[in-house]
């Protein structure tokens, strides 16, 4: 298999669950203030922007941190810019299907701030923003579903990394435009359920919350199917 085949998880209407492991790369690039952050954001690879805006989702899998991305956390805690930090924290990441759009929006917020702010505030030495990036290694799991019941069972058992991969990585990092589950559900005759999962903003839940939410939606679909039989 080569990288072109990444995430080809649907075979003969079976849903094959994959998972992925992340390697964190260091870019050796630091920012000390908002201007430097804005300049760096324009130049770092898209995998870096993805990493800094999605890392929290997996690391804090049972709670939603106050600052759901590294940029807002740093702006708030190391620069002490509460208002700007909140603006960056509240960014509606779900609306972006392409990291490049997210990059543009982040830079726009920072540039708007810079236009209105005459003086720059540097962080204290040692608290610079260190740019990271990541690469993913995708591996198959033993979970395969060929109907809704098996799908629900797999969602309950699959690792949080597998759910994360199909919900977030497929949609944004692998640029499929939608999550893998919705794509499969559409091909298996559940467009309503697929739309429901597509509309649901996973960024505002913890990963365990997402698991529960999917199971809940699938259960309701199964109950509705049973009632109409």
């Amino acid at each position: 298999m080569n990288s072109q085949d990444i995430g080809n998880n649907i075979e003969m209407n079976f849903f094959k669950f994959y998972t992925r492991i992340t390697q964190v790369k260091l870019l050796g690039r630091v920012s000390r203030n908002v201007k430097e952050l804005s300049e760096a954001l324009a130049n770092v690879p898209s995998a870096s922007i993805y990493h800094h805006t999605h890392r929290y989702l997996e690391q804090h899998r049972y709670f939603s941190p106050e600052h759901p991305n590294d940029f807002s956390y740093w702006i708030n805690n190391s620069l002490g810019l509460k208002k700007l930090g909140e603006l960056v924290a509240s960014l509606d990441i779900f609306q972006f299907r392409d990291i490049e759009d997210l990059r543009r929006e982040l830079i726009k917020i920072l540039k708007d701030y810079l236009v209105k702010t005459p003086s720059l505030r540097n962080c204290i030495p040692g608290e610079e923003f260190n740019f990271l990036s990541s690469r993913i290694f995708i591996i198959p799991t033993n979970f395969t579903a060929k109907n809704l019941e098996e799908f629900k069972d797999c969602i309950g058992k699959a690792s949080i990394h597998s759910i994360y991969f199909h919900m977030f990585e497929a949609r944004v990092r692998l640029k499929k435009g939608d999550n893998d589950f919705s794509y499969w559900l559409r091909t298996t005759g559940y467009p309503g359920l697929a739309d429901r999962l597509s509309r649901f903003d996973p960024y505002t839940y913890t990963l365990e919350g997402i698991r529960r939410k999917i199971i809940e939606a699938v259960t309701q679909q199964m109950q509705s199917d049973a009632a109409h039989k």
Partner: protein
């Protein structure tokens, strides 16, 4: 000797199964680790534990130790200090001697592998051999690299950039380099003597041996007697707490022997502790892992009030035991603690005292912090994650894509 499968009960089958899948992709490759000491020090400790586990996964992993004279190790000690901001002077002659020892080792060396994994600066010059063997080379920096002295950095950089990849322990250690840099955080071994589960009877016997009252709250800091660990600040925080809540303080550590500064710090700590019978300053031998484990497990609150820190793995050790940990927000500590969720980050003696009181008075909240902390360590800082990172690192030498389908 522990087998990798024994970690299944701790991290789950999936994590171990994934390690086997990754290792399978590395079948046929040989890997040789090279460092400068077989015993003592963090690098030797982790290699001693990790290499047998990697072999369990089917990997051909070897470990070689370079040889050097006293002058060489004096120079490498200076390099070590110069990398984390201490002003040192290394002469041309010393740099030359450093290179000669590396050259001599490379001539005597037999175990050249497909992947050469070089740990820390001491054997860094072996990479000169890469042209001859056309193999892959990784340089792993275990030490605090936050403020490297310029001449030392420029000297090392010439070698580092000859490698295929470099590895650092914290984002702040990263530098502008022409080769890929990978982040691999340190780890703890949950089945080691320092971290494994202990019988309550053993814990009680350790307390009794040191004269510590098991029925009175215990605040503990385990660390070397070093200014940067602020043991005197810990005593001051304890005194602020003691005014309101009866408790005991345990300061346990080693490192004072053969270390003039350590002895000075220890004396200051003893002076500060004076005749307080509830302060226990324990100078423990380096093999006191079970005792340290017992002291941590008996504690109500664990401190790591560092003023400067490389990574600060004692925080992970405390969290793994489900203890509420209060630590200085320095070095790698904020990576281990999310403030008020999986522990407490503080900056001052007063702040530390405030949170000790709070946690002693609110044991339910303290318990939740400990539970979250343990989960965080389980997800991010166990030896199995460390092995996984290394396997990915080896695989990444052969595939530079950002998305790799295995």
């Amino acid at each position: 000797m522990l087998h990798i499968n024994e970690y299944r009960s701790i991290v789950g089958n999936q994590v171990i199964d994934e390690l086997y899948i990754l290792a399978e992709k590395l079948k046929g490759f040989s890997i040789t680790n090279v460092n400068s000491t077989a015993m003592g020090g963090g690098v030797a400790e982790i290699l001693n534990r990790m290499i047998p586990l990697m072999r369990n996964l089917g990997l051909s992993v070897f470990w070689e130790v370079i040889k050097g004279d006293d002058v060489f190790f004096d120079i490498t000690k200076k390099i070590h200090n110069g990398l984390h901001g201490v002003e040192v002077s290394i002469t041309r002659q010393e740099f030359k001697h450093f290179l000669e020892i590396n050259q001599k080792n490379s001539e005597d060396f037999k175990n050249w592998a497909d992947i050469m994994y070089i740990h820390d600066p001491q054997p860094i010059g072996l990479v000169k051999k890469r042209k001859q063997f056309k193999n892959k080379w990784i340089w792993r920096c275990h030490i605090d690299f936050s403020k490297p002295q310029r001449d030392i950095w420029l000297f090392l950089k010439k070698f580092i950039e000859k490698y295929d990849a470099s590895v650092f322990s914290a984002p702040a250690f990263s530098r502008r380099l022409s080769i890929p840099q990978v982040l691999v955080a340190p780890s703890i071994d949950p089945l080691s003597d320092k971290n494994k589960e202990l019988e309550q009877g053993f814990i009680d016997s350790v307390l009794s041996r040191f004269g510590i009252d098991k029925d009175k709250p215990i605040i503990t800091q385990v660390s070397r007697f070093d200014y940067l660990k602020d043991p005197v600040g810990v005593i001051k925080a304890y005194r602020l707490v003691k005014k309101y809540t009866d408790c005991q303080l345990v300061l346990a550590g080693g490192g004072a022997k053969d270390d003039p500064e350590g002895q000075k710090v220890l004396k200051e700590v003893m002076d500060e502790a004076e005749a307080d019978k509830d302060i226990f300053v324990l100078l423990l031998p380096s093999d006191s892992n079970l005792e340290i484990n017992a002291l941590q497990r008996a504690s109500s609150v664990i401190l790591q009030k560092s003023l400067k820190e490389g990574f600060g793995l004692t925080v992970c050790e405390g969290l793994w035991k489900e203890k509420p940990v209060i630590a200085g927000a320095v070095g790698g500590i904020p990576l281990q603690i999310a403030h008020k969720y999986s522990g407490i980050l503080t900056y001052t003696v007063e702040g530390t005292a405030y949170w000790i009181k709070h946690l002693l008075h609110e044991p339910e909240y303290a318990k939740i912090l400990g539970q979250h902390g343990k989960q965080h360590v389980k997800n991010n800082f166990l030896i199995t994650r460390h092995i996984q990172d290394y396997l990915l690192l080896f695989l990444s030498l052969f595939n530079r894509d950002d998305e790799v389908n295995l």
